[in-house]
Amino acid sequence: MSANLIWLLWEATLQTLYMVAASTVLGTVFGLPLGVFLATSQRGELLSSPWANKVLGLMVNATRSVPFIILVVAIIPLTRAIVGTSIGTNAAIVPLTLAAIPFIARLVENAIREVDVGLIEAARAMGATPMQIITKVLVREARPGIALGLTLAVVSLIGYSAMVGAVGGEGLGDLGIRYGYQRFMPDVMLAVVVILIVLVQLVQSIGEWIAARFDKRAPRNRGR
């Protein structure tokens, strides 16, 4: 493999990392509060507002039902309005973020619903406000679950980021298609796949390590 190709692989890897990192950060900024709201706004819950819960839930489901490749194409006008173009890494961040938000929101919602309701009751009995219960109890106790959920989201976004390569994005997916597939260079294809595997492994291991650091509950398999 020529030095030029190795340079291309390096550049594509950085582009992928950039797209994934940006969409993870943006997806979390919007998805985390959305997930918290979904987990606490059903009738009788902390932020009880059943209508808003229903409407947002429907929007989340609708976005998650659209296949990612269709989503990318369908929101091209939005992408152009935000970034000014529909081609390149910055443009790819728009659909990636849009896919990440509802996905992360659902993962956060699940993690928060796992928190024992007894803790909410205890916090209410201490005179906590709903906001204090959310920040000091729910999100804090759900950190191991949220960390694992975000790991899952990042892994999915690595896959999605390769997909945007097919429609004008850059990064490893784009490289794999243009060189590996269209120019029939199996070594490039192989290199792209290996890099993706390594990335996913790394993300998974780091995510699990962080989740374990947060998790102070009794180990589940001890004593068996």
Binding site: L119, E121, A122, R124, M126, A128
Partner: protein
């Protein structure tokens, strides 16, 4: 609770009712016409079966539930009508401990005890000092940095108690706090609660389904059944003179009140013809609890008695006993008169041939 006025009570329920919307719009009454006053510094135990409404009653004191009728006041505040800001202020004066502890798994002992102080917006240096005091108070020295998963059940409940005391409340609510603990640990936790009650003058309202808990620490008690208080008063009085069948069935487990099966099956309401025995429950209370009254009955009156069941117990510092005896029915009245003359309580349960 012995007083009839709400004015000087730490906790008072006045004709409190709670209705829930049941399936199909039916109203389910969880509590009906509950009136109960708990004096400052008392330990009041509410005993009832699951579903009797005791949990709803307890949760009204700190506004986790609101009454649908009547008034609940705690340290002078009307809880049922407080808005959410006032309610949060009231809750800082009312600590609560739970059956399953409800500790945050992600916080250490220190962090858990600090939580109510953080919520109240206390400065960090005052929180540190207060938490250190509390850890010593409940006997958790050396465990400050542990997580709940690393503690035993008894230690977890001590953290729960320290957390409940953090904001220096006037009232402590205990929701089956010892029901998940083994008997030995239960004793140590109850002792801690009694110490706190004595040292801090804290009023404690506890709910339980175990009569032994009430017997060991409650100065007053109430029995709840089907959403109504069926009997209430000083614990000693209720233990020695229970009137309601529910109270008796709870007492049966701890005081030898229950008839042994071999007698219960043969018991007749009326004295049959011919020779028979009268079955009497004798309650020894106070100073008489340790007197050898049955021996005296035999010596002085020549009436032999047959002991069927019995136990001597302590309610707080007072010993009292229950004996089930049978005597010749012809001399039953005489025997009862003798025993009552000597300060014992008797009750005819029935007759056996």
């Amino acid at each position: 609770m012995t007083g009839n006025t709400a004015a000087d009570a730490a906790i008072s329920f006045e004709k409190v009712g709670k209705a829930f919307a049941g399936p199909g719009g039916a109203r389910i009454m969880a509590l009906e016409d509950v009136t109960l006053h708990v004096e400052p510094g008392a330990i009041c135990g509410i005993i009832g079966r699951s579903g009797a409404g005791k949990s709803t009653l307890l949760r009204m004191v700190n506004g986790l539930e609101r009454p649908t009728s009547g008034t609940v006041t705690v340290t002078g505040y009307d809880v049922g009508r407080a808005n959410s800001t006032a309610l949060r202020a009231i809750r800082r004066e009312v600590g609560m401990i739970f059956q399953h502890f409800n500790l945050l798994a992600s916080r250490t002992v220190t962090g858990n005890i600090a939580l109510p102080l953080e919520i109240a917006g206390e400065p960090a240096d005052r929180i540190r000092a207060r938490v250190a005091d509390l850890i010593a108070r409940v006997g958790l020295d050396g465990l400050a940095g542990r997580y709940p998963a690393e503690l035993s059940g008894g230690q977890k409940q001590r953290v729960g108690i320290a957390r409940a005391l953090a904001t220096q409340p006037k009232v402590l609510l205990s929701d089956e706090a010892t029901s998940a603990l083994d008997p030995e640990t239960t004793q140590t936790v109850l002792r801690l609660l009694a110490d706190i009650n004595r040292d801090l003058g804290l009023t404690i309202l506890l709910i339980t389904h175990e009569m032994a808990v009430v017997r060991d620490i409650a100065s007053h008690m109430a029995v709840i059944e089907g959403g109504r208080i069926v009997e209430s008063g000083p614990t000693y009085d209720i233990f020695t003179r229970p009137t309601h069948p529910t109270t008796r069935s709870f007492l049966g487990g701890v005081t030898g009140l229950a008839l042994p099966a071999f007698i219960a099956g043969r018991l007749l309401d009326h004295r049959p013809d011919g020779p028979s025995e009268e079955v009497i429950r004798v309650t020894f209370a106070g100073n008489h609890a340790t007197d050898p009254m049955l021996s005296k009955l035999a010596v002085e009156k020549g009436i032999a008695s047959n002991i069927l069941a019995g136990a001597i117990e302590e309610v707080g510092p007072h010993p009292f006993g229950n004996l089930l005896i049978s005597v010749d029915a012809a001399r039953g009245a005489e025997a009862r008169a003798y025993l009552e003359q000597h300060g014992l309580l008797t009750e005819v349960l029935g007759h056996v041939r």
